[in-house]
Symmetry: C2
Subunit: 180 residues, 2 copies
Amino acid sequence: MAILEAARRQFASGGFTATTIRSVAAAAEVDPGLVVHFFRTKDALFVAALELPIDLPGELLAAMRGEPAEAAERLISTYFAIWENPATAAPLTAMFRSAATNDQAANMLREFLLARIGKSADLPRPAATVSLLFAQLLGIAVARYIVRIEPIASMELDQLARELTPLAEFVLARGDASAS
Amino acid sequence: MAILEAARRQFASGGFTATTIRSVAAAAEVDPGLVVHFFRTKDALFVAALELPIDLPGELLAAMRGEPAEAAERLISTYFAIWENPATAAPLTAMFRSAATNDQAANMLREFLLARIGKSADLPRPAATVSLLFAQLLGIAVARYIVRIEPIASMELDQLARELTPLAEFVLARGDASAS
C-alpha cells in the first residue's frame, strides 16, 4: 500500500514529529482525507507503518485509569498478556532491539512516546508516574524476555504478577498523592 | 596480556559457566595460581576481560545491605553515580546494547548474573527481590540514558532519586517481609 510505504519512509528518515498525515498523503499522491479514512490518526498510522501488532503505549495508558489497586492489576495483566503472546511479543522485541542499538529507531520510539506522554491533558496519571511505570515495565520485559535474567525469566506469571502489582499500585498511588 | 586475551576468547565462545580459571590458565599457558594472583576470582576475571570499568552487580549487591530505607538510598545513589559518569556509563551502554541484540552477549551477561544471584547464601536479600531491583534499575537506565524517554531522560537527578528511593525501599521491605 502506497500510504504505508510513504509513512514508513518518512517516519524512518524524518522522525515522528516531522511526519504529518498531510506529508505522507503528498508523498503517496493521495488526498489527506484518504489517509484519515484508513488510519484516523498519526499515532495509528505510525503503529501500522511499523507493523506493530498493537498500540502498546495506548493499551497501557488505558489500563492505568481508575483506582490505583484496580489500575495496577489491569496494567500488569494487560502488559504480560501482550508479552506472553508470541504474535505480539516478537515485533515488540524487534522494535526494542532496534531502539537499543540504532539511534534513528530510538528517536522514532522516543518521539512517539513523547507525543503520547506530552499530551498531559489526556494522561490518566502525572507524566512522571507514566514514564516511571513505562520504564519499570520495560526493564522487567528486558530482564524476563530479552536478556532472561533469573529468577525473573523462569518465574511463573502468577508469581511475577503478585510481585509487580503491589509495586505498580505503590507508584500509581504515590503519583496521585504528589499531584494532588 | 595473554591471560585476558584467553579469558575474553573463552567467555565469548564458551560462556561464563564453561570458562574456569583453570581453563583460562591452560589456554594462556600459565599456572592457574598466576591467574588467581592477578584476578583473585572468576567474577573479577570476567569483569576485567570485558573491560567493564566496574563490577556493577557487585556494587549494587553491596549497596543493598542493611535497613530498607538506608539500603534504598545507597542503592539509588550508587547506581546513578555510575551511570552519570561517562567513563563508567559508556562501557555499560556498550555491554547492554550487545546483550539486547546478540544472543551470545546476552548468554554471558545472564550466566554472570545467574552465578551472582544464584549464590543465595551471599545475597543481602531474597533472589526474587534482587532480580526485581536489577530489572527495575535496568529499565530506568534504558529509559533515561539509552532510549531517552521523557520526562525521565531530562529529569534532575535529585528528583529522579526522590521518585525512585521510596520505590526501592518498598521492594526491599516487601522482599524482607515475604522472606521472614
